[in-house]
């Protein structure tokens, strides 16, 4: 892996190089990504049918929680879009493999920071995944276009990208930290799946969190998970307003910083345990 001549001012161009390398490498997975995105629409359609069946049994127009059927459908459509943009695809498995194979050794010798390096690869992976997933997702959205709503207001055009960016960072940092457990355990996949189970429920992937009892919903908002999906989607739909909005942004930022510190701490602790295998 050739790196450009390392002068202090070349910091950015060095990582730009990693970024473009990541894009080239993930292009190999494009068919895989396409299948993944297309197959992912099967359970999404099933969930939408299920909600339609539930609403059909109610008197016409009566909401569930604070959601009409149209609002419920647009919630799930936006979750799909945000998920396509931010979800980790192969990153955690690759990080675990890097540790197991001893590939992280080279980062201890090179002027590359492993976290920043992985972040660049994650971002390039997201660029490819999002552009590939756009084909099936756009096709699906077209059929559901009556439920697709415009951003809630002019301010949303600023707030939504901001919360999306922080969601992506948080998503990456959580996956990164869980994968670092490979320093201590043989097979990290169990931990990845356990973490993912909590994420699936508490991020709002399965259902919008505000159809839960109020106290449970409030409690979940203190965990990092809602800031991965539920919060950015809520910001876009304009469902999160006033003090809740600002409190949400503060908590999201706080979790990003906390996740970053935990990731750094785990990495330095892990290196102490690390014994390089191979040359």
């Amino acid at each position: 892996m050739p790196t450009p001549a390392p002068s202090a001012a070349r910091f950015l161009s060095r990582y730009a190089h990693v970024l473009s390398m990541g894009i080239q490498n993930t292009l190999v997975y494009r068919t895989n990504f396409l299948f993944r995105a297309a197959f992912g629409l099967v359970p999404l359609a099933a969930t939408l049918f299920l909600w339609q069946a539930i609403y059909a049994d109610k008197p016409a127009g009566s909401p569930i929680g604070a959601y009409t059927l149209a609002q419920m459908v647009s919630y799930y459509l936006l979750v799909t879009v945000v998920d396509a943009i931010t979800a980790v695809a192969e990153d955690d498995w690759q990080i675990a493999a890097d540790i197991k194979d001893g590939a992280v050794s080279q980062f201890l010798l090179k002027p590359l920071d492993y976290l920043t390096y992985r972040l660049c690869l994650y971002l390039s992976g997201r660029v490819i995944y999002t552009s590939v997933a756009l084909i099936p997702v756009a096709f699906f959205l077209f059929f559901q276009r009556e439920f697709l709503v415009a951003p809630a207001g002019p301010l949303t055009w600023v707030l939504m990208p901001l919360s999306l960016l922080m969601a992506a960072l948080l998503q990456f940092l959580i996956a990164y930290t869980v994968a670092l457990l490979s320093f201590w355990v043989m097979d990290v996949s169990t931990f990845i799946f356990i973490q993912f189970a909590f994420e699936f429920l508490a991020s709002g992937h399965l259902f919008p969190l505000d159809i839960l009892p109020e106290s449970l919903h409030r409690l979940l908002l203190w965990t990092p998970y809602p800031y991965l999906l539920y919060f950015p989607v809520g910001v876009y739909l304009g469902r999160i307003q006033g003090p809740d909005l600002w409190q949400g942004f503060c908590l999201q930022a706080a979790w990003v910083v906390a996740a970053f510190l935990i990731a750094r701490f785990t990495w330095s602790r892990g290196l102490r345990k690390y014994t390089a295998v191979g040359g």
């Binding site: 895989n32 099933a46 799946f193």
Partner: protein, 271 residues
């Protein structure tokens, strides 16, 4: 690939040895073994939690009451975990066997190759998760106040086996794609998404292309629905379980046909 007449006792002996080997292998990593049971139990809990949330807002979904849906989720878990125990690891591994050329070695064994590929590794831990599914089935039946007759239990076992066979045949069929593309993991992974719809009540889907495809092409809406309806005594007609048995046979024949076709096109990757 039939070198000899397959004698049942010979295959039972081979399977016994494979199970013993898998057990010894598994017991080397005891903590990991227990953690996988936890992982599967968590995801099962997640499915039940989802249904609990839904029924917090409604009394019935497409004519299914809360405990009928719990029964359905339990049946689905039971079948799915049996499938994991017997086949999933092995079928996911087919693309690796082809990529590395290990398949050659298996083709030379004096045993039916499809049999070896399908059952090589036995995942003992999933028994615990299958039993959790069964426990939920019993609990839901008690809540519904239903006590199925012995004949119904026999029928339940038969339709569960048919459902298992559908999952096996379809995933085997998908895994055969790796004879043509090297990276077939994405396709096998895709099967997990199909799984997800098997635990939903079929009646929730409007009559149309989606429901037709997942009943008559990829019969996901039959595999768990029919066993659950049988126990809940709400099968509309005997045609429902007949449809499952029919589709199980059709899927198996299709998978055997694709398997033979794929083998004829197999060019080894090894030297």
């Amino acid at each position: 690939m039939r070198h000899r007449l397959p004698s049942l006792s010979r295959y039972a002996g081979i399977y016994g040895a494979l199970i013993r080997y898998s057990l010894i292998h598994e017991m080397q990593f005891k903590v990991n073994f227990l953690l996988w049971i936890v992982v599967e139990a968590l995801w099962f809990g997640l499915q039940l939690a989802f249904m609990t949330v839904l029924y917090g807002h409604t009394d019935q979904i497409a004519g299914w009451s809360r405990w009928e849906v719990v029964l359905l989720v339990g049946c689905n878990q039971f079948i799915q975990q049996l499938f994991h125990m017997l086949f999933v690891t092995n079928l996911s591994n087919l693309s690796e066997l082809i990529r590395k050329g290990t398949l050659d070695l298996l083709l030379l064994q004096p045993v039916n190759t499809r049999f070896l590929i399908s059952v090589k590794k036995f995942e003992i831990g999933n028994i615990a998760n299958a039993l959790m599914g069964l426990a939920v089935v019993f609990y839901a039946l008690a809540q519904l106040g239903r006590a199925p007759s012995p004949a119904q239990w026999v029928g339940f076992i038969v339709v569960c086996l048919a459902g298992l066979s559908v999952h096996y045949s379809l995933m085997f069929l998908l895994a055969c794609v790796s004879f043509w593309t090297v990276r077939a993991q994405g396709i096998v992974w895709g099967y997990y998404n199909l799984f997800n719809i098997a635990r939903l009540p079929a009646e929730a889907f409007p009559k149309g292309a989606y429901r037709a495809v997942f009943t008559w092409v990829l019969p996901m809406l039959l595999v768990s629905n029919v066993p659950a309806k049988l126990l809940a005594q709400r099968l509309a007609s005997p045609w429902e379980w007949a449809a499952l048995l029919l589709m199980a046979a059709a899927c198996f024949i299709a998978s055997e046909w694709v398997w033979r076709f794929s083998l004829r096109h197999y060019t080894s990757a090894s030297a």
